[in-house]
């Protein structure tokens, strides 16, 4: 049984899906990720789907579930690298994946996660440091 590797880079878990996943592999990835988020205490998950030439409703649902699970575990999930043909197909299929944050590539995905974390800090700092908030 194939397993999709989960890499830890700093505060982020990076998953690069390189194989045509069977449904079982997808479910296993979902479980692996939940465990790794808790074990590592990471606050960001990047799922790179650049290599996927299709995303069907099952994989789409898995991505949504991972996003929801990670949210519960206080981690932000960003799906990156969706191909144009895949995006067009998903729209036609009727899957809008509203709950998922997306970015064009891994770099932008990391920026997005960093920005999301900064927002939280700004909010926390807000009361103590009124000047910083005023300039934003």
């Amino acid at each position: 049984m194939e397993r999709v590797p989960v890499l830890k880079i700093g505060d982020i878990l990076l998953v690069s899906i390189q194989v045509d996943m069977s449904d079982q592999t997808a479910v296993m990835l979902q479980e692996d990720l939940a465990e790794r988020i808790v074990a590592t205490g990471c606050h960001g998950v990047i799922i790179d789907i650049t290599a996927l030439d299709i995303v069907d409703s099952f994989v789409g649902r898995m991505l949504s579930t991972i996003a929801s699970i990670s949210k519960v575990l206080d981690a932000e999930t960003v799906v990156v690298g969706m191909r144009p043909a895949v995006a067009i197909t998903l729209v036609e299929l009727g899957l809008s994946l509203n709950s998922i944050r997306t970015a064009l590539n891994v770099e932008r995905g990391m920026e997005l996660i960093a920005a999301a974390r900064t927002d939280e800090w700004v909010m926390v700092d807000g009361d103590e440091d009124a000047e910083t908030t005023a300039t934003t």
């Binding site: 960003v78 799906v79 990156v80 969706m82 191909r83 144009p84 043909a85 995006a87 067009i88 998903l90 729209v91 036609e92 809008s96 994946l97 944050r101 997306t102 970015a103 064009l104 590539n105 770099e107 932008r108 995905g109 960093a114 920005a115 900064t118 700004v122 910083t132 300039t135 934003t136």
Partner: protein, 286 residues
Amino acid sequence: MALSAEESGWLARLLTKNAEQLIRRWTELVASSLRGRLSHAELARQVQELHRSMIGAVENGLTDLDSEQGGELRAVLAELSRGRARQGFSASETAISVFALKDVLLELMEEDQNAGNLRDFVAFSALIDQMGLFTFESFVRTRESLIADQAEQLLELSTPVVKIWEGVVAVPLVGTLDSARAQVVMERLLQTLVDTGSPYAIIDITGVPAVDTQVAQHILKTVVAARLMGADCIISGIRPQIAQTIVALGIEFGDIATKASLADALRHVLRLTGVDNARRHQRRES
């Protein structure tokens, strides 16, 4: 079969014997039909080539244009019609270059009673008809391929995706959008987002005179697809009529950003990215 072997031989002799006179008269007749739109030298060259390849064909015992012996003659005819089609001559103007040979042959046969009888002329005439039809078909084929090429070029020309700022691409749409074109635009825009790593796209429809439900749907789908890929689309230049159509058709544009002009859209994007940059800047400082 247009000609018998015997008639073919007759035609060869007729064409060779009076070659000079024949070419001169033939060129004259064609020239008058084209009214000086082709240089005389060019025309004479074409007629000579046609004459030469005809002689070649009938000397090889040509009985039918579609046969093997007609190969070279067909090639010359095809070349002639291609040239005429490209130069913008009409189909009749092209076919007449071939049919003029009938008049020339008739004149020759009237002058020289030994040249052949009516039956021979009808046979020659049948061959020339075949040549004329072939010319016509080549002409139409060339025109068709010209039209197909142009349609393709138009599609390429009319859907430029340009990078207008770091991280911002724009598609200025001009002309009527049909479903096929909308699809090409959609795919190209999304691909450019990936290639340039741009998180913002501006779809400017100032040059689009009207949209129907299908086209509006295509634009909407593009926006949703771009979002799935992690990019934002802004639609600019919506004309009043189009705005009315969109509302009248009950198309939901939802939370898609729309701006009056391309400039406004760019300003909007820069403000968005400016916020990001300021934030990042701030973080570095603290």
